[in-house]
Symmetry: C2
Subunit: 207 residues, 2 copies
DNA sequence: ATAAGTTTGTGAATGATTTCACAAGCGTCA
DNA sequence: TGACGCTTGTGAAATCATTCACAAACTTAT
C-alpha cells in the first residue's frame, strides 16, 4: 500500500472522534462537508484522505456513519485492544497510569515500572509498580504492544533500546531531548517544552 | 515577514536544544552538517531554515555557537521569560505544575487554578491552588502570557473562550476532543490519545 | 600571495500535499 | 420514467516543503 502521510493519520484520528460523537447522537449518515466543518479542513481533503483506503461513500448521500466508523477503526488498527506499559512512575507517569481516557480509546495500561526501590511495590490506582529489571521477562509473557517512556532524560536512550530489544514495537516518548527510535520500533514524541516554544514563537512573531 | 511553516518552527526548537548542549560543552562553532546529523535532517534543510531569518554563518567555517544561540532565542522569543498559568489542578495539571523542566526553558508557572472547592487552597509545590473564578481578575494584574488547559472536556470550550477574553494570548491545550482557539489566541493541542492511535496505525500497517 | 580545502546561502529541481473542478452516481419526487 | 439536486471520487492544477547543486566567501597552510 502507498505510504500514508503523518498529517493524514492525524486527520483520520480526528474524523474517528467526530464519528463516535455523531454515532452516539444517533445520526446515520454524514457528508464530507460536515466532517470537514467539524475538523477545520475542507471536504476535498476529507474525501482524498478516505479515498486512500477505498471508497466508502454513496454519491448524493454521503457516508454511512456506522460503516465509516468501522472502516476507520479497521484502518487505524483499533478493532483490537492494545497493551500498554508505562516506564517511570513519576509525576507524568502516574498521571498517565491513572488516566481513564486511554482505556476508552482501546489502550489498556497493564503495567507500570520504576527503578526506584522506594516506589517499587506501591500501588498506582489498580496497578502495583514493578521493578523495571523485570521488563524483559514480563514483556515475553505479557506481550506489551506499546511502552510509554516517562523517565528522566539521563538513561532514556538506553531504556528505549531495551524496550526495542524486549520486542515491544512502539514507544510513546515523553522525554525531552533527542531520542532515536531503536530499529523496527515506531516512536512518537510528545515534547511539551517544544510546544511552549512554538507558542512563544507565535506570540513573538504575530502580525 | 514571510509565513513560517510549523515544521520549521519545530526544527528551530530542536536546533536550539542542540546549541545549548554544544555551548555547555564549550564548542564555539558548528556547521550546518553537524546540526543536521544531531537533528536527523539534512544540512541543506538547516541552512534553508536559518536563511528564512537572515544569514548568520561564515562560509568555510560554520556558525558561531554563541551568536546562533542568541539569534535563535531572539527569533523564538526566548530572550524573555514567559508567565504561565495552569487551569485544572488534576492529575495532569499537577504533574505539569511541579515539572521543573519548563522553568529551565524560560516558562515560569506562576499560578494554578481549579474549580473544585476541595482543591482550592491546597498547595502544589510552591503554589497555592486558586479559585478559577479569580482568573480574569488575576490575569489583569499578573499578565499571564500562556494558559495551560488541563480540565475535563465538558466545559473546556467555555474555559478556552474565557481565557481569550481575559486577554491571555496563548493556550497549551491537553483536553482531548475538538477545541477551537478563541479569536487572536494561539493554541497548540497535545492529544495523547491521538499519538497512541498513530502508533496503533503504524503497528497495524507496517510492512 | 596563492592554492587548497571548507562551508555557506540560495536559485532551481524535485517531491509531497492540498485544493480545484467536474463527470458520474445515487436518491427523491412528480 | 425522467429531471433535479446533492455528494462522491479523482485527475489536474496549485501550493508548499525539501533536496540538489554550485558559485561565492571564508580559513588555513605554505
Ligand atoms: N512532569 C511533567 O509535567 C513533564 C512534562 C514534560 C516532560 N516530562 C518528561 O517526562 C520525564 C519524567 O518526568 P517526571 O516529571 O515524571 O519525572 P519524575 O522525576 O517525577 O519521575 C521519573 C520517574 O522515573 C523513575 N526512573 C528513573 N530512571 C528509570 C529507569 N531507568 N527505569 C524506570 N524508571 C526510572 C524515577 O524513579 C521516577 O520515579 C522527564 O524526562 C521529563 O522531561 C515531564
Ligand atoms: N491525566 C492524563 O494523563 C491525561 C492524558 C491526556 C489527556 N488528559 C486530559 O487532560 C484533562 C485533565 O485530565 P486529568 O486526568 O488531569 O483530570 P482530573 O479529573 O484529574 O483533573 C481535572 C481537574 O480540573 C478541575 N476542573 C474541572 N473543571 C474546571 C474548570 N472549569 N476550571 C478549573 N478547574 C476545573 C477539576 O476540579 C479537577 O481537579 C482531561 O481533559 C483529559 O482528557 C489527561
Amino acid at each position: 500500500m502507498k505510504r500514508i502521510a503523518e498529517s493524514t493519520v492525524r486527520r483520520l484520528s480526528i474524523y474517528l472522534g467526530f464519528l463516535e460523537d455523531i454515532n452516539r447522537r444517533g445520526t446515520t449518515t454524514v457528508s464530507s462537508e460536515q466532517l470537514a466543518k467539524l475538523g477545520g479542513t475542507t471536504s476535498a481533503q476529507v474525501r482524498k484522505d478516505l479515498s486512500l483506503f477505498g471508497s466508502f461513500g454513496k454519491r448524493g448521500l454521503g457516508y454511512s456513519v456506522a460503516e465509516l466508523l468501522g472502516r476507520l477503526r479497521q484502518i487505524m488498527g483499533l478493532e483490537r485492544r492494545w497493551r500498554v506499559c508505562i516506564i517511570g512512575a513519576g509525576k507524568i507517569g502516574a498521571a498517565l497510569a491513572q488516566f481513564e481516557g486511554f482505556a476508552q480509546r482501546g489502550f489498556d495500561v497493564v503495567a507500570v515500572y520504576d527503578s526506584n526501590p522506594a516506589r517499587i511495590g506501591e500501588m498506582l490506582g489498580e496497578l502495583r509498580i514493578r521493578d523495571v529489571a523485570f521488563l524483559e521477562r514480563d514483556a515475553e509473557t505479557e506481550k506489551f504492544d506499546i511502552a510509554v517512556l516517562a523517565i528522566p532524560p539521563r538513561g532514556a536512550q538506553k531504556m528505549a533500546d531495551r524496550v526495542g530489544r524486549a520486542g515491544i514495537g512502539a514507544i510513546l516518548n515523553f522525554v525531552a531531548g533527542q531520542l532515536t527510535a531503536p530499529p523496527k520500533v515506531a516512536m512518537r514524541t510528545v515534547d511539551m517544552a517544544m510546544e511552549l516554544e512554538a507558542l512563544s514563537f507565535a506570540l513573538t512573531n504575530r502580525d
